[in-house]
Point group: C2
Chain length 344, copies 2
Amino acid sequence: MRSGRAPTLEDVARVAGVSRATVSRVINGIRNVDPQLHEVVWEAVGQTGYVPNRLARSLVTRRTGTVALIVSDSETHDDDPFMGRFFADPYFGRVVGGLMSVLRREGVQLALQIVGTDEGKKRLVGDLRSGQADGAIVLSLPAADPLPRMLAEADVPAVMIGRPAEPVPVDYVDLANDTGAAMAAEHLLSRGCRRIGMISGPADVPASSDRISGFRRAMARHGHGWVPTAAGNFTQASGETAMRTLLAENPALDGVFVANDLMALGALLALREVTRSVPGDIAVIGFDDSSAATAAAPQLTTIRHPLEDMAAEAARLLLARVEEPSLRVASVIYEPSLIRRGSA
Amino acid sequence: MRSGRAPTLEDVARVAGVSRATVSRVINGIRNVDPQLHEVVWEAVGQTGYVPNRLARSLVTRRTGTVALIVSDSETHDDDPFMGRFFADPYFGRVVGGLMSVLRREGVQLALQIVGTDEGKKRLVGDLRSGQADGAIVLSLPAADPLPRMLAEADVPAVMIGRPAEPVPVDYVDLANDTGAAMAAEHLLSRGCRRIGMISGPADVPASSDRISGFRRAMARHGHGWVPTAAGNFTQASGETAMRTLLAENPALDGVFVANDLMALGALLALREVTRSVPGDIAVIGFDDSSAATAAAPQLTTIRHPLEDMAAEAARLLLARVEEPSLRVASVIYEPSLIRRGSA
DNA sequence: CCTCTCGTGGAGAGCGCTTTCCGAGTCTGC
DNA sequence: GCAGACTCGGAAAGCGCTCTCCACGAGAGG
């Protein structure tokens, strides 16, 4: 472990008194090696403190043992204050945790890449194509993101978390967002709410629009053809603002569906400000069941989004596709469930 | 952008009618190239859709343009349920966000590595030493982690976030945890609390022990030689439990310092359960000023921990050391500040 | 007019590894 | 006892790139 140049295969071979080829075979556990030599080689490996150079190995095997986690955004220049918020959001951590739970076991590492400009996306695809990583897990934020299609066209193994905005032949895992939103509607209705509003996310993101349509449809099925709605951007602050505007326009609200927990937290704050009790005066139901849900007071009744499991599945899907690129395009849809807590 | 093998330098050279060397020079912007050829080469690059192979380049330049983010834990086997919690914690996201804010600008990517076993650490250091990444940002969780020393001995450029438990010649950024805890004590005292307890983190982690000693020292300076303490492990659930035991043993408590916001959230829950009003009956002050602080009700008075800035500084430090390995060992200590909100 | 210098680009030697190809040695079966 | 099959390990050809070294031609100086 001393400094200086790291030992190479050559060094080990010299110490063991065999050829580089033999050492390579032993290390990679290839048959056809005399057990005795095997022994000698491992001895030499221990003695030299040899560790294979992953780069060199990858160059020839075309396998890197790395998967890229791509956060695809759309901005014009590279300084986007939004990113800070994104990482702070429980969403990111849950995805990473789920991903790592399977990648780690396989000894695969995760390389984080943020990409915003089209230029950057082009370079990214090129890097991926030239073997920078074995595949990519894609978190595509903007509505009209060219990246999924680019990836598909370049034949880069990729799995999206959340379906692509427009149909693209790429694997993805997603949540039945519409079903979840419908469950929220049913729950609010079943507990007797009659003047129900919604705080939605940005209308152009699939996950968000599915929640909107799922909620509206379910409400309509029960005779509520019109649902007052205010849009936020999934941050706590935006939820607070949205709640205020919603309330201003619909003072008699007795229930609200908030499209994610973070905004629900904001909504709770806004309600406390005007001394409406939750769930007494107004019931609040969130979405995601993130850590924010239990942090709130009252704790949030919410729709569980098994993000960790989904991310883990995405990782498995990706690994499978890397192994066998000709697999047919797969999508796995998870079912949400209602988590009853104090707020509704 | 069609499929098949990605174009190589060779291909570009053929198209441009020059040698590989010349193309390489043009692409890397090296002087001594006839402007006219320059033109021709770029033309060929565009035509072939060539993207340099980072792996091959790294192999020879010994620069990868990648920094490893190492989460160093200590477990005996690889399935640690703790990790899921770790990623979900705002801590992780804040660090990644801070790191990326500077790495991104430099076009450096972040490779996430979790490592638990000593075996794994050894391999990791080997990988790093053989040029897997240009350097490492280390989040060392366990108290007696051999990793920092291993890194230092292997001469791997590394910067720790949070000081190492035992002195090791390695760069680090840290927070003046003791000062922060002292600020919490002063604040509690100044608002009139007289029976003050503490919910601490694990005693063997530096960040945690510094908060404990800082708090105790400040309390002692004001004549409170003894501070009832219950320990948690920085999770919300552990904070809830700790609050309950603390309360059971010291029913008259009128103030409590909780060593991080997540546990403070749990403490708030426990207090609500026994209908103690905050801050009326008992003042609660947290630590970190994470997103949990504003999610709580009442919002948490807390000690601000500029983690994003610290992570960004760590990234800068690391990049500087990669550039110039002989730099003397540096440490940057950030000052915390008191954030007044509702809970104390 | 000849030599010296300098700017320019090609040839080729690696970076550390895997893997094909082959030759040499060992067994088996007839 | 020998052809054929099989085992084992070495030599060497790359993977795609960078960069040193060298050859060549042109402009400058004597």
